[in-house]
Symmetry: C2
Subunit: 541 residues, 2 copies
């Protein structure tokens, strides 16, 4: 460990040496990862301004590299918010450029994605990346850059300023990459299809190396509310976070500190918490200092014995807390049971209508039920599970369920068997719902969160966290019950149809024979008879 | 994306915010991760000097934290190589302190482990870490430190120098951590058991919070050769690596550059490659410039037509290669088929004897076969698979095989279902070997490599790389064939025993009756008869 060969390495150097863990495992996975990272940045950029995204992706063949790999130029253009020129070099040429202490539901989570794509292209082809962007101002800025991987700094090779005649707003990223497109092709097309499925307000265009155009037109211009920034929830804090908040806070007392830096903490909650944790004491004129359990809270602290309004001792100054007090504060923040659960207003789920529309467009099922669960949390982060189960129609029978996984409206296409959703689906007692894997069934699971619990930096699959597992399992049970009901009704309908067809087959003969036997001329009206034995209308769905 | 809330974050900040991906997912996993990272550093430290490791781990209870978690002090002491004082602060207080361009088989791979443990302890308890170390010199150095997470710098709170009277050499790390030991306990004990199994030359001692002592004594003082540093293999290069090598090389010509910076490239290979890639041209006095295929190589280039020794044009200076030429160089390095495959001399596998001994000690099987595969490579990194299959003895029947996974002599205890070994074992056609999962079978898989293809920074499981999968599958088939042979022989032996027991049961009666019938007194000797029908000796194993 301690040898003279020690040296500090930069973050970009770390991810260069360990690019596997960022998803750049092999030439085919790398092409996929590069495209997805840039498309996701573009979707986030457009949504931040509530603009329906228009994204153009072009992968053009540049030459052979080795037996299995080729050189491609990748160009991604969007109509998003654009990037201010002073941020462009670092946004693409510096790893770990991130956001401050607020949390927000975004597709790109690690401050890494786009840069990893540029870095990978650079180490394989040694070509610079070109980034052109405008925020809609009078100017368009165009940079030619590379990453100084050892120092984690962008190298600006050229910089141009153009007049923005048409007031364009957006970003164009173009760079060269080596990869195995042939092997990646089907996953890339799946990626576009599924991204279109859960972002039906986006126009996606993909031109592949053979010049084939794949166009996914938007089905609606209705966009969901963009995700809002939110403050950390008390249950998710640690000492480091508290110290940073204390360091930056302009507030000089704990009451304002708690109200302004934590999620859903109002006046009463802040006061309650301070009494609970001993940061302040409540006194009654008659009964003196009161314990937490002897206080009634209704528009403020009241004595539970005499109803008098209590006075609270002076609020402490957060900046004056000792280390010990900060540790205790953290422990109390986790213990206090009266914080409101995280509110999903910061989240931007699909919504049942949109999810339905997307699944219907893609799979054209015979039957579909979707469910949006109420918000839940893990480690202080809010999340929502939305799940749909679809039967029949264009869904093939595959011997096992077809699973679609999404997180923050991006499709997850690898490592299905490691994903929490797969595990829940496999652990489910399907026989109880009279559902079996040879039926033509697709299950669609979407999780949105301010911090998606990915297991890996490469965002391949969701970790098996108990809170998430529980929500997925509950959602799955709800929709499965409805599917069971549908299937059972359908079975009855089928049985009834078969029964009626037996009648319809033999009654006419019986009528005929009876008529002859009775020596009559006219046959009785069998339609009336058939109708009378019909249990219910089999044509109704 | 481009909003005023952008800022650069340090590597430690990144891993602080994303500690899940480094294995510090929840309070029980965190305790496990902290212990394993420090134990693995200690094992590496002792092995680097080929010293049998003595490692003492003590986890002591300090107080309650929340309903499910407690505060513990973790102390790990070893007799390894120690750390020089000028490196101690960064070794524990700075994330991404790594090694230069050489590759070596080590347990700690990311330059992260120990620091993540210290970081996690710090953010939960705000207590400093104490590191005491000596390389066996006259002095012992003791530091009290914390990590400035935002700046990724160590904060030295105190520093002591002590006289090293007993010439002690080693390292002691002590810090406070919050976690859920109760839940982690069984995994931690498994960790020690399995670490002892594959490092039988190590003494491991663990004292748990209740004061219980777990001692794993070494079974041998024979240690394998420590892993050696090695140069990168041509098949694994990229442009960035080439640029760095070119930058640091003291050599002014390509011949020396290739020979000295790449794995197993000697004079002839270097010359061959240069002609192949056009870096140099070979000329025959008679036939002029020759193409690669017209050259015979035996102690140097010879004309294939006339046998003349060829002259090579002047070697280029690596520092004078253009960017284009560097890219071409990389492509040729990957195309050239005559580089020798990576040599495993840099690797330190367990060896079949050691693996057997470890499995016998732990599982006491009735039958055991182990196999060490020849070295293989993935992405230019050499690796070796060692696999054992054990039957019966103390191995319980569990309805599925018990799988033990190891990488660079450390046990992998989580996410079994995502691991490549699990997938290979599941995909195996066991019926063909007449082996079924309800048999009492354990499979032990060990991979050692200069770069273990972990899927995650938390080193939970091995990625499903085709080269690795292939090696594991082949090893599994080899040992399964032998197991099948054993089981089938055992079945024959059992059948024979049953058959003999039938004879042994009835022959005496028949003898008795026959004797009476024949009117004789003395019964014939049936033992001789039994022996004559015995097909083979059933007592032999």
């Amino acid at each position: 460990m301690a040898q003279a060969t020690f040296q500090e390495i930069s973050a970009s150097d770390f991810f260069y040496r360990n690019r596997d863990i960022a998803g750049f495992t092999n030439p085919s996975r790398a092409i996929f990862a590069a495209i997805r990272e840039l498309v996701e940045n573009s979707l986030d950029a457009a949504e931040s301004l509530k603009i329906p995204p228009d994204i153009y992706v072009r992968l053009s063949f540049e030459g052979e590299a080795s037996r299995d790999t080729q050189i491609y130029k990748l160009r991604v253009e969007d109509n998003g918010c654009g990037i201010q020129p002073r941020f462009i070099p670092s946004a693409f040429g510096q790893v770990l450029y991130g956001s401050k202490y607020k949390l927000k539901q975004m597709r790109g989570t690690f401050g890494l994605g786009g840069k990893m794509a540029v870095l990978y292209g650079q180490i394989m082809t040694h070509q610079p990346a070109y980034v052109t962007s405008s925020t809609g101002s009078a100017k368009i800025y165009s940079f030619k850059l590379m990453i100084d991987i050892q120092r984690n700094r962008p190298l600006i090779l050229d910089r141009k300023v153009l007049i923005n005649k048409e007031q364009w707003r957006g970003t164009i990223v173009e760079f060269t990459i080596e990869g195995d497109y042939l092997r990646a092709r089907s996953k890339i097309l799946d990626y576009f299809k599924q991204t279109a499925m859960v972002n039906p307000y986006a126009n996606l265009t993909f031109v592949d190396p053979k010049g084939r155009l794949y166009k996914f037109n938007r089905g609606t211009i209705n966009m969901p509310e963009p995700p809002k920034e939110t403050d950390p929830h008390p249950y998710g804090v640690d000492v480091e976070l508290l110290q940073r908040l204390i360091h930056i806070t302009p507030h000089k007392n704990m009451q304002e500190f708690l109200k302004n830096h934590f999620h859903r903490v109002g006046d009463i909650t802040a006061q309650k918490f301070q009494v609970f944790s001993g940061l302040t004491t409540a006194s009654c004129k008659k009964h003196g200092k009161l314990a937490y359990q002897d206080i009634n809270w209704s528009r403020g602290p009241n004595c539970s014995r005499c109803g008098e309004v209590l006075t609270l001792s002076a609020y402490k100054n957060p900046k004056k807390l000792s280390h010990q007090e900060i540790v205790k504060l953290m422990q109390h923040l986790k213990k206090f049971k009266e914080f409101l659960p995280p509110d999903a207003s910061c989240l931007s789920p699909l919504g049942e209508e949109l999810l339905k529309a997307g699944i219907i467009k893609e799979l054209n099922p015979e039957y579909l039920v979707v469910k949006q669960r109420k918000p839940s949390t893990y480690a202080g982060h809010p999340f929502i599970i939305e799940l749909g189960i679809a039967y029949g129609g264009d869904i093939p029978k595959k011997g096992s369920f077809i699973i679609y996984r999404f997180a923050n409206k991006i499709p997850l296409l690898y490592d299905e068997a490691s994903d929490v959703s797969y595990r829940v689906i496999n652990a489910m007692n399907w026989r109880r719902y009279k559902v079996s894997p040879d039926m033509p069934i697709a299950i669609v699971v979407h999780i949105c969160s301010t911090k998606v619990p990915y297991k890996t930096v490469g965002k391949e699959f969701i970790a098996d966290r108990p809170e998430v597992r529980k929500e997925v399992a509950n959602a799955l049970r709800e929709v499965s019950r409805q599917l069971q009901h549908f299937l059972s009704k359908r079975e009855h309908v089928d049985r009834e149809k078969r029964r009626l067809s037996v009648f319809a087959k033999y009654l006419p003969r019986i009528a005929e024979f009876s008529t002859t036997l009775a020596g009559k001329e006219k046959q009785p009206d069998i339609q009336k008879l058939i109708k009378s034995v019909q249990k219910y209308d089999t044509e109704k769905k």
